[in-house]
Symmetry: C2
Subunit: 248 residues, 2 copies
Amino acid sequence: MPTNVAAARLVLEGVKAACSNCNLRELCLPIGIEPADLRKLDELVSTRRRMKRGDYLYRAGQGFESIYAIRSGFFKTDVLIEDGRDQVTGFQMTGELLGLDGISSEVHTCNAIALEDSEVCAIPFSQLEGLSRQIHTLQHHFHKVMSREIVRDHGVMMLLGTMRAEERLAAFLLNLSQRFKARGYSPAEFNLRMSRDEIGSYLGLKLETVSRAFSRFQEEGLLSVHQRKVRILNTAGLRRLMTHQRSD
Amino acid sequence: MPTNVAAARLVLEGVKAACSNCNLRELCLPIGIEPADLRKLDELVSTRRRMKRGDYLYRAGQGFESIYAIRSGFFKTDVLIEDGRDQVTGFQMTGELLGLDGISSEVHTCNAIALEDSEVCAIPFSQLEGLSRQIHTLQHHFHKVMSREIVRDHGVMMLLGTMRAEERLAAFLLNLSQRFKARGYSPAEFNLRMSRDEIGSYLGLKLETVSRAFSRFQEEGLLSVHQRKVRILNTAGLRRLMTHQRSD
DNA sequence: CCCCACGTTTGATCCACGTCAACCCTGTTC
DNA sequence: GAACAGGGTTGACGTGGATCAAACGTGGGG
């Protein structure tokens, strides 16, 4: 585990939040921002919040004030309706933003829950709007992030609307893999932070179906699974499976 | 292939658009903008584009430059992947914005197709960013619109992930009804602009299933359907059906 | 007016996934 | 180290919606 360079760097960081010396700035909001402007951003992103596994970052119905950048850790967001149904709408990892759903009505519309001990930077939204009126690149980057979220959601709609169980799981794993890779972790071997049930909720499947799909992938030599430890053995095979031709 | 697109561009005639005297400004971007600022917006939203049923407003892969406000008409957006599968990601009507997905990568990620003769206002995006740096309320309103799109997508994910066929159709019809109502049309009686197949694609169902659900609703006296003409007879009943308790 | 094309409806059958239930792991508590 | 809890796996069976197929409008064109 100390093989993990990114994690090791995190531990060396001071407590004071500062985008200017955050090693995530290539992934997070400050992308492409001038050093001078970065200092202004530092003032804005002044509070960090440490959270334990299971803690709620915010809840549906709560007033919206800030968006959050994940400095370390892993989250899920979910929506639930009166009759008890719920749906995991996303899993978020280091460098990603949480809370964008709250802008529309000044109220959070989903729950955000830490799936492991985590740390986030709170970014007061009205101040972010203020600063992005001054800093062109910040404004544009923020718009890109929101748009990317919309595109991502369309991908999930595609998945839920047209794919079968194994295709969904393959797509999910490849997506995770690619995001770990982008953060300097192994794309082939990683620990799932979520339960079979949570994966199922995200993919529109029951946990038994998720479990069976995992077993099947293992039988076919596409990956090995032990509990939440996954090692991808055949990326191409997974990709092929995901894009498998249907009998149209 | 660009026959449609080229044709549509030709129609990009110099019809003078003007938000300030557009009767949609309560629904569209200019919400809550001062008269003085509204004039600046007028300059920005200078080109209208007239489209016929079936025309593409933009295609996946095309470069992104503008977002579009629907002045009149009805659109669908869809994504498709290599293996032939496609998914309708949304239906858009008067006053709604199209093209937000393109911001993230400067390229449109879906197709936008007119489902009836329509007219849109093109809004060059870089200019919109410029103006929203000057006009707070425009900036904030734009952020709200993007956020609302994200919330809407979460609703669709919920629908696709947890609801059964009849619940999905009920949710879909109630949503349409409510949007027609917001535009001053009858919430109880309207014409569907899309085929059973397109509804099915949006709801993650086959057209036969959509058709059967319509028939069932009619048998139960919830609505009457003739072709694409729908009249809702029992809104409460539909709502009850949508939120029906599952055997948990 | 008839014909053709295309979207829609309806019926019969099939199958992927849900449901229910038993059992198994692994980690934790006393 | 026995007992327990919570997640995960596996099997047997049921079912909602897909698939296949046929017939039915409706509207446009000759």
